[in-house]
C-alpha cells in the first residue's frame, strides 16, 4: 500500500462482504437465466477474486460452473502517456470465446469509470459479446465518464481525498473494505 495513508473506518468486514457477494450472485442469476452462456471477467487485480467469489456462489446456488476470465487493461489505459514509467503488464486470459455470451465485468471499486471504459475496449478486441454488464463491490461515485454498474455491492459516498481499500483473502490475506485518508504530508 502507498505511504501516508491512515485507516479511517472499516465499512465491510468478512461476513458482510460474503453476504453482499451472495446477494450480487443472486441478482446476476436472476437477470441472466441462460447460465451456459454467462462469463465473468475480473479486471486485474481485485476484480479477479471478486469474479471468482461470485462464480463460486452461483455454482453453490445453481449447480452450474461459470467460467471466469481475467482482463488486464493496462495496454488500453488512457493515461499511459502522462507521467512516469510504464506499469507492469500481467496479461489477459479468457477461458472461452466471448461471442454470443453475456460477459459480466467484475471490479472491486467503481470510481471514475475509466478502467471500465478500457475494459470495454479490450473486450471488443476478443469478439462480440451478446451483452456486457458490470458488477462492482463498491461504487464510490465521482464518475468522469457516462458509465454505471448493473450490480452494486454497496454505494459509498466518498471525498476524493479518500481511498477505498478492498482486501481479499487470496490477494491480501484478509477480507474487508476500509476507507483510508491521504495524509497531510505527501
Amino acid at each position: 500500500m502507498a505511504k501516508n495513508l491512515t485507516p479511517k473506518t472499516t465499512i465491510l468486514d468478512a461476513k458482510q462482504m460474503a453476504r453482499i457477494i451472495r446477494r450480487m450472485a443472486g441478482e446476476i442469476v436472476e437477470r441472466n437465466r441462460d447460465l451456459p452462456h454467462l462469463l465473468l471477467a475480473g479486471i486485474r487485480t481485485r476484480g479477479v477474486p471478486l469474479a471468482e467469489a461470485i462464480a463460486a456462489e452461483i455454482e453453490r446456488m445453481e449447480g452450474q460452473k461459470i467460467p471466469v476470465g481475467v482482463l488486464d487493461i493496462t495496454l488500453y489505459r488512457d493515461d499511459l502517456s502522462t507521467v512516469g514509467p510504464q506499469p507492469l503488464v500481467k496479461g489477459t486470459r479468457l477461458p472461452r470465446s466471448i461471442d454470443d455470451c453475456v460477459v459480466v465485468l467484475c471490479d472491486d471499486v467503481l470510481y471514475t469509470g475509466r478502467t471500465v471504459r478500457a475494459a470495454l475496449d479490450e473486450l471488443v478486441d476478443f469478439g462480440r459479446p451478446k451483452a456486457v454488464q458490470l458488477a462492482v463491490l463498491i461504487d464510490r461515485g465521482h464518475r468522469e465518464l457516462p458509465i454505471q454498474a448493473d450490480f452494486v455491492g454497496k454505494k459509498v459516498p466518498t471525498a476524493q481525498s479518500e481511498i477505498i481499500e478492498v482486501s481479499f483473502q487470496s490477494t491480501d490475506g484478509a477480507e474487508q473494505v476500509r476507507i483510508l485518508e491521504r495524509g497531510a504530508s505527501g
Binding site: 507521467v83 514509467p85 489477459t92
Partner: protein, 313 residues
C-alpha cells in the same frame, strides 16, 4: 526482485541491464505473446507514437519483427534504409541524428555496421534508442528473445549449460547472449575454430572449446551461429566443406548433448555450413519459435521504453 518498471530511455546493450530488468522484459513479453494469439492482434497502447526504423545494414528478420511489433502496439512507423538515404549522399551520422531529432520521433530502432553508433545517437536525441545490432558489439533484442525461448522450454535460465558454436569473432549475438546468460546464472561454453575465437572471450566468464564434441558435452541448449562469410576480410578456414566436417551440427554429433537439448539459430542459416538440414528441421530445433517470440519480446521492449522520464518523481 523484479522491478515494477523500467527506468531507462534506451536499450543499447545487455551489458548495462540488471538481472531484474531482464526478468521484467521477459515477463512482459509473456503477456504480449497472448496479444499475438488474438483474432485482432493489436492493442492501442502506443497510439500516436512515432517509431523510426533506421537500418544501415541489410536485415529482413529483425526489421520485419520490429515493424510487426510496432504495428501490434498501434505505433506509427517509418523505415529508413541505407540505399537511397542521405547517408549515401555524404551526410554525416551526426547530421542524420539531428535531422531525425527534428522530426520528433518517440523511439528510434537502429542497426549499424559500427559498434557504438546507437550510443552516439542516444546521447544526441531525445527519443529512446533501441540497438538492433551494432557491428560485432551487441544485439540485445536477439539475446532477449533467445533467453525467452530457452525459458519457455526449460522453465529457467540459471544452472543450464548453453553451448554457442561457430563464428564467435564476428558475432554480436554471442556477446549479448554471453552477457545475458552469465548474468542469469547459466554456464556458457563457446566453441569454434581458433581463427574465429577472439582471445578476450575467456575474460567474459565463459569456457572456451576448440572442438565441437568438447563444446556440446552435456549441453541443455545449443546455439549455432551463422558463418558470416561476408564479414570476413580473409577466409578463416580452408573451405566450407572442411568447416562443416569439423563444426557443422549433425544428428550424430548431437549425442554428446543432453537428451532434451534444444537447438537454436539466430538466422539466417547456411544449411550445410554450420548446421545440417536434418538438424535444422528436426525435433530438437526451436529455430522458428525464436522468430515468433522475437515479436513478443520486441513489443515488450518498445512498451517498456515508451514510459516518460524526467518529469517522473
Amino acid at each position: 526482485m523484479t522491478p515494477e518498471t523500467m527506468q531507462r530511455k534506451d536499450l543499447l546493450g545487455i551489458a548495462e541491464l540488471s538481472p531484474a530488468e531482464i526478468e521484467l522484459i521477459l515477463d512482459t513479453a509473456e503477456s504480449f505473446r497472448e496479444v499475438g494469439e488474438r483474432a485482432i492482434k493489436k492493442v492501442p497502447t502506443l497510439r500516436g507514437r512515432t517509431v523510426i526504423n533506421l537500418f544501415f545494414e541489410a536485415s529482413t528478420r529483425t526489421r520485419s519483427s520490429f515493424e510487426i511489433a510496432e504495428k501490434r502496439l498501434s505505433a506509427d512507423n517509418v523505415n529508413f534504409s541505407t540505399s537511397g538515404s542521405a547517408l549515401e549522399k555524404g551526410e554525416s551520422l551526426i547530421d542524420t541524428a539531428l535531422n531525425l531529432q527534428a522530426m520528433a520521433p518517440d523511439l528510434v530502432v537502429i542497426r549499424h555496421g559500427h559498434p557504438g553508433v546507437p550510443h552516439m545517437l542516444a546521447k544526441r536525441i531525445k527519443a529512446g534508442v533501441i540497438n538492433a545490432g551494432d557491428g560485432a558489439h551487441e544485439h540485445p533484442t536477439q539475446a532477449l528473445l533467445d533467453a525467452y525461448t530457452i525459458r519457455r522450454h526449460k522453465g529457467r535460465l540459471a544452472g543450464l549449460k548453453v553451448a554457442i558454436i561457430g563464428d564467435i569473432e564476428h558475432s554480436r549475438v554471442v556477446r549479448s547472449n554471453v552477457h545475458l546468460l552469465t548474468k542469469m546464472g547459466a554456464r556458457v561454453t563457446v566453441g569454434g575454430p581458433r581463427t574465429l575465437m577472439p582471445v578476450a572471450m575467456a575474460a567474459m566468464g565463459v569456457e572456451v572449446a576448440y572442438t565441437l564434441e568438447d563444446a556440446l558435452r552435456d549441453a541443455d541448449v545449443i546455439m549455432m551461429l551463422r558463418v558470416q562469410l561476408e564479414r570476413q576480410g580473409r577466409m578463416s578456414f580452408p573451405s566450407v566443406r572442411e568447416y562443416f566436417q569439423l563444426f557443422g551440427l549433425t544428428t550424430a554429433r548431437l549425442a554428446a548433448a543432453k537428451e532434451d537439448v534444444i537447438i537454436m539459430h539466430p538466422g539466417p542459416m547456411n544449411r550445410g555450413v554450420e548446421i545440417a538440414s536434418e538438424v535444422a528441421d528436426g525435433p530438437y530445433s526451436v529455430i522458428l519459435e525464436q522468430v515468433a517470440h522475437g515479436v513478443s519480446v520486441r513489443m515488450a521492449v518498445l512498451y517498456l521504453l515508451s514510459g516518460s522520464y524526467g518529469e517522473a518523481a
